[in-house]
Symmetry: C2
C-alpha cells in the first residue's frame, strides 16, 4: 500500500534527482493517482506538503510545477534560556536586577503599539551559564493584557520562562543584529568597552495586542544561533 508519505518521498526524490527539473510541469494528480494506484486525495495530500514546504507551485488549471526560485525557509528555535544552558550540561543561574512599573520610552511604546502613558512592567534580569553572564534580558510586559504579571515577583523565575509557561501568543517579530556594547551592557555582562554583542529583539502579540517586548543581549564570543533546516525524510 502506498501512503501519502511514500508518495511524498517518491516525488521528493524525483525533484532531488533532477528527474523533474526546476520550472517543469509535473503530471496532474489524476495521472499520479493512477500511477501509484491510489486515490487523488492521497496524491493531493503529498503534493500539498511539497507545496507548503516550497518545492512545488500549484495553480488550478495551470497544473503543478517545480519551483524555480528556491528561496526556502529556515526555522530557528528559540528556547527557554535555562533549558538551553542546562541541555548542554551548563550550570544555570538567574538574577533579578530590577522590576518596576513605569511609562516606557517612546521607542518601546512604538514597538508595542502603545499610545497612552499607562505604566508598563519593566524587568531587567541576568542569565548566567557556568557563573559567566550569558544573557541580559531587558523586558517590557503590558500589564493591561497580562495583569497576572503584577503578582509575579520574578525573583526566582525569569520573565522569559514565566511568559512562555503562562501566556499564549499568536504572533512574534524578531530582529537579530550585532552591535558594540553600551555601558549598561558592559557593566552587567562584564565586558570591556565596545565589545561586540549579539542582540535579539522580540515583540510578541496575542491577537493583535502586544504582550511583551524584550531585548536579549549576549556577549558575542559565547553565543551562536543555530538552525537545522531539514527537507528530506521528515514527513
Amino acid at each position: 500500500m502506498r501512503s501519502y508519505k511514500d508518495i511524498h518521498n517518491i516525488l521528493l526524490d524525483r525533484i532531488k534527482d533532477g528527474e523533474w527539473q526546476p520550472g517543469a510541469l509535473v503530471p496532474a494528480e489524476v495521472d499520479l493517482a493512477r500511477e501509484f494506484g491510489c486515490t487523488r486525495v492521497t496524491v493531493n495530500r503529498a503534493m500539498q506538503a511539497l507545496a507548503d514546504s516550497g518545492l512545488l507551485e500549484r495553480r488550478r488549471r495551470a497544473g503543478t510545477r517545480v519551483v524555480q526560485r528556491m528561496t526556502r525557509n529556515a526555522v530557528f528555535q528559540i528556547p527557554i534560556v535555562r533549558h538551553e544552558i542546562e541541555q548542554r550540561g551548563g550550570n544555570y543561574k538567574y538574577l533579578l536586577i530590577s522590576r518596576e512599573e513605569v511609562t516606557p520610552p517612546q521607542k518601546v511604546k512604538a514597538e508595542m503599539g502603545l499610545s497612552g502613558d499607562d505604566p508598563v512592567m519593566h524587568v531587567l534580569s541576568l542569565h548566567f551559564a557556568d557563573g559567566r553572564p550569558y544573557q541580559l534580558e531587558d523586558r517590557w510586559i503590558d500589564i493591561t493584557t497580562v495583569p497576572q504579571a503584577r503578582k509575579e515577583p520574578f525573583e526566582t523565575i525569569s520573565p522569559n520562562e514565566w511568559l512562555l509557561r503562562e501566556i499564549p501568543y499568536t504572533n512574534a517579530e524578531h530582529v537579530f543584529r550585532a552591535a558594540p556594547s553600551d555601558t549598561e551592557e558592559e557593566e552587567h555582562l562584564s565586558l570591556a568597552e565596545n565589545e561586540p554583542v549579539f542582540i535579539i529583539e522580540r515583540t510578541t502579540w496575542l491577537a493583535d495586542q502586544a504582550v511583551t517586548h524584550v531585548r536579549l543581549v549576549h556577549p558575542a564570543n559565547s553565543f551562536r544561533l543555530v538552525t537545522r533546516d531539514q527537507h528530506g525524510g521528515a514527513i
Copy 2:
C-alpha cells in the same frame, strides 16, 4: 458550510481567547465534528494544521492538548542578496574578488563533510548597497556535486544568486553570530579595527551531499535580520 479553514480559525480563536488554556485537553475529533456538523476528516485537517504550526499536540488515545510552549520558532528566508537590496529601493552592485580551485582548510572540509584533497571552488566576492559594502561572501562550492560551477566565471552574477537559481537543495544549516572583524574583513568592508560584524554561516546539502558552504559577513551597523512569525490568520 464549514470548511476546514473555518474550523481552523474557530479553534485558533478558542486558544487565543484562553477558552482552551495551555496544557488543556481539547475535545476529540468526533465531538468537534458533531459540533460543527461535518466529517471527522475535516476536523482532522484543521487540527493537523494547528499541530503543524505548533499550537496543538496530538497523541493517539491520549487526545489533543494545547501546547505548553517551551520554544519559539522564527522563520528565516534565504534571500538573493540583490533582491533583498533592490526590494527596499537600494542600489545594488556586485564585485568578484577572487575565484580559484583549491583544497579547502580543514574547518571547511569538516563543515562540508569532505575527506580527500580534491579541489573545491573558492569564490570571494562583495555585495554593495548604495555604494557601501554590505556583505562579504566567502564561498566554497563542491565541484564534484556541482561541476557546472567550473564553467561559471562569477564575474557578473554572484555565487549566491547563481546557486539559488541553478542548484536545488534539500537541507541547510545556519549559524548566526556576532564577532569583532578580522583584518581581511576590515579591508574589504572598509571597517575600522575590531568593529563588530554580523556573520551568517550556511552549509547547504542536496540529498546528503554538501553543495556549498558560505560565510556571509555584514558590518553590524548596517545589518539586521528580521522575521515575522504568524500563527494566526494565515490559512
